[in-house]
């Protein structure tokens, strides 16, 4: 075949491909953007109410019905920051809470740090086996002062989900909050995120709170004292991503009664309900997503009146990846977890599961799982079509402008909601950087994450074992300017 013949064949193929896919892609494009718009409208109703609540300043926190909370903190090689983290958690403003640290076989002296800081003594406590755990629990420790509500459980190394299950068995309060050892909670965060349980004690089974990247902010003694934008663009773009995901996505889904994902970095659950469904699945990569879906399934199967709530106010701050390698690993794992969980729960896409089965799950299938595939198609075919001269250049440019313009619009809507409701970034410079990041993320970053997500999906389809990476943390404590 001659070169010209090859080019002609390719051109014909691209023309055919574009003819076949143009209408479905246009419909997909329309629906996804309409759905974003709908989520924005739903979320803004919540923000309006939230704004009113702030204006009227009714603070009925810590009242008669406020349930006790066990904060479950799985820790693996967290020696550098574990003491500060635990001290910050113990000093949260809340009427009744305990901290349960599960040392997952750390080798860096995490336990020794706790032993010294809190003068721990061993107690011969046998933990209940409310949820099954494979790993052996080594021992249980409490502070010698007899008052500090801290329990440290040491176990053999077996992973975060198992550590959380051990923590669940050790927990004594009716609510359990699962929190990463390196996350920072707002001083009132626990009060805010338990509010749905206090307001509706018989129905609410789980609640999530908004999570924000902590990179760049000034942290002193486990508390954020000055919120700032990160120094690296990679982290800045993630600030924008988190804003969009939590302020519009989760809030909108919660408003429509179909929230199916509570972030693993911070989620709070009724202990009895998590025990009832068997705890976290240690074999799942998307264990946070999987747990919430399992809860939905159990509640719906049993015809129980229940609610999964979301608190849009920032509750927890976490460090996000600052290198492409770690971010790649994270996004691969997230998308793989999404695929494996959606596949495992494909049977829930039925009317029996209400809005979860008819709206949320199909949405996640079409607009979360398949989105990178469609985007990759666009990334490959559109430049090819331009190269072969099968599409009009101004037409392609306008289409790209529209596609990325809509993405920026959604982000700006999230920023407007943030500025209206929470306005956590005080500086004008930070506002400018966030605006810039909302545009910059479309140039390179978005295309890279599309590829990484597809890598994760492909690895799962090939049955490749998940390889976990290491996140090098810069740490929170930054010097004052």
């Amino acid at each position: 075949m001659t070169w010209d013949g090859f080019v002609d064949g390719l051109r014909a193929g691209v023309v055919w491909l574009m003819a076949v896919t143009s209408v479905p892609i246009l419909v997909y494009f329309l629906i996804i953007n309409l759905s974003y718009l709908l989520l924005i409208v739903l979320a803004s109703l919540d923000f309006r109410a939230d704004h009113r609540r702030r204006e009227s300043e009714v603070t009925a926190f810590g009242g008669a019905l406020t349930p006790g909370v066990s904060l479950l903190v799985p820790a693996y090689n967290e020696a550098a920051g574990i003491v500060v983290s635990v001290q910050a958690l113990l000093s949260l403003r809340y009427p009744r809470h305990e901290v349960v640290v599960v040392d997952d076989g750390s080798t860096d002296g995490t336990f020794e740090q706790l032993l010294e800081a809190f003068d721990l003594v061993e107690v011969p406590r046998e933990l209940p086996r409310d949820v099954p755990v494979r790993a052996r629990v080594l021992d249980v420790h409490v502070p010698r002062d007899g008052r500090t509500r801290l329990v440290v459980v040491r176990k053999e190394n077996s992973g975060r989900s198992e550590a959380l299950n051990v923590g669940l068995n050790a927990a004594t309060e009716p609510l359990v909050a699962m929190i990463d050892a390196d996350s920072i909670l707002e001083p009132d965060g626990l009060l805010r995120v338990t509010q749905p349980f206090t307001d509706d004690p018989t129905r609410v089974v789980a609640a999530g709170g908004a999570i924000r990247p902590v990179n760049g902010s000034r942290v002193v003694s486990g508390r954020i004292v000055d919120v700032r934008m990160p120094r690296q663009w990679l982290a800045r773009v993630q600030v924008v991503e988190y804003l969009r995901a939590f302020l519009l996505g989760r809030t909108g889904w919660s408003r429509s009664g179909a929230l199916i994902l509570i972030s693993g970095a911070f989620g709070i659950f009724r202990r009895d309900v998590v025990v009832e469904v068997g705890g976290l699945d240690p074999t799942s990569i998307g264990e946070d997503f999987e747990l919430v879906l399992r809860i939905h399934r159990r509640m719906r199967d049993e015809g129980r009146d229940y609610r999964v709530a979301f608190v849009p106010e920032p509750v927890s701050w976490t460090e996000v990846p600052t290198t492409a390698a770690v971010l790649r690993n994270q996004r691969r794992r997230w998308h793989r977890g999404l695929w494996e969980t959606l596949w495992a729960y494909r049977g829930m896409v039925r009317p029996r599961y209400g809005r979860v089965g008819l709206v949320a799950l199909p949405y996640y299938w079409v607009f979360e799982l398949f989105a990178p595939l469609l985007e990759l198609f666009g990334i490959v075919v559109v430049p090819l079509a331009l190269l072969l001269g099968v599409v009009d250049v101004p037409y392609a440019v306008l289409f790209l402008l529209l596609a990325y313009g809509l993405a920026v619009l959604v982000t700006l809507a999230a920023m407007a909601a943030e500025e209206w409701s929470f306005h956590r970034h005080d500086r004008w410079r930070d506002l400018g950087l966030t605006l810039l990041a909302s545009v910059v993320e479309n140039i390179g970053y978005r295309q890279l994450t599309v590829w990484w997500r597809l890598e994760g999906w492909w690895a799962s389809l090939r049955g490749k074992k998940q390889v976990w990476g290491v996140m090098t943390r810069a740490g929170f404590e930054e010097p004052a300017p």
């Binding site: 009714v58 009242g63 076989g105 046998e126 007899g146 004690p201 018989t202 972030s263 402008l401 990476g469």
Partner: protein, 381 residues
Amino acid sequence: MLVLAPAVVLAACLGLVALIVGTKVLRTRRERRRAALLAPYRIDLLAVSAGEDDAGAHRARLAGADGASRPALDDAMTHLLAKVRGTPADHLAEVLHAHGAIDRAITDLHHPSAVRRARAAQLLGLCGAHQAVARLGEALQDQAPDVRTSAAHALGLVGDPAVAPRLLAAVGSSHRPIPAGPAADALEGMGVGISRALRDALEHPSPTVRTVAAQVSGDGAFTRSTPRLRELLATDPDLTVRETAAGALAHLGRREDVEVLARHTAADQPTPLRRTCTEALGRLGEPSAVPHLEPLLDDPDPRLAELAATALLCLGEPGRRALGDRGGAAADTARTLARLRAGEPIQSVGAGRAGDAAGPGDSGDAGHARAASRADHGSRA
């Protein structure tokens, strides 16, 4: 069409940028203006809210404020009123009254703005405005959830028990409900006059109302609720209600409630209820609970066994005697914790084993744990 669409999106983006910037500018200006208006009165506000205005000079200055300073001061005083009690609170309410803020707030309960209605309800509650009880009662049916919540909160601060039935009914309303938490707190501020309303609410078809009534009955020691609480513990279809009833019986129960609670520690009962009832037996403080708790020390559920041992220690000498020198993890843990709470020295068994955990993990799983516990695990955006 394709030419128009990007233009529309671009215009919408620019509009949003203008909105974001405008919001920030307006907020900053408003805060600065408010600070400027309050600046001349800062010392007076501090003196009154700290209770250091016996002569009334600072109150007189605050009461004499006019123009734009007056609403700014009213806001600031309302904010302070939520944080102080006693004489300083009375003095702040006195200044607000002198400004006509209370009369305005009563009128504002019918204002078209939900924010104004909610703030009015809040101010009336904080000022203990008894004259507004009827209007606040009406506000429990307001179309805005935040106004209803503010009204409930305010009624609790005013403390008029006559509105308790309406408040409880509003908790169970399917049309315009008020949240259970603020309702329970409000009821706890209404005193003994709500006894009848609580008893009725324990019969309510909504489990949320029953939970609120059970909780408040226990916290406020409303002994007339006891017979119904026993029934709820035994037969209520909702586990939360049953657990709350058990907790309430621990507060206000009598000797005969030992049997009632002990019955629900049986193996055929739900585990959370068994644990709550075991704990409640300890809190009830009746020595007759000892024979019921003793067998639980051997329960296959280690948490229940430990709770039983702790409960025995709570029962004084008869409980301690029953626990005796009994071995086992549950009894030993309960005894150790009791000693630690009492400040008694105990031998540290943990320190010597501190290094044991270094590297106990299965090397094959270590990578898994590293990622799962430390890396980017689970923090899905």
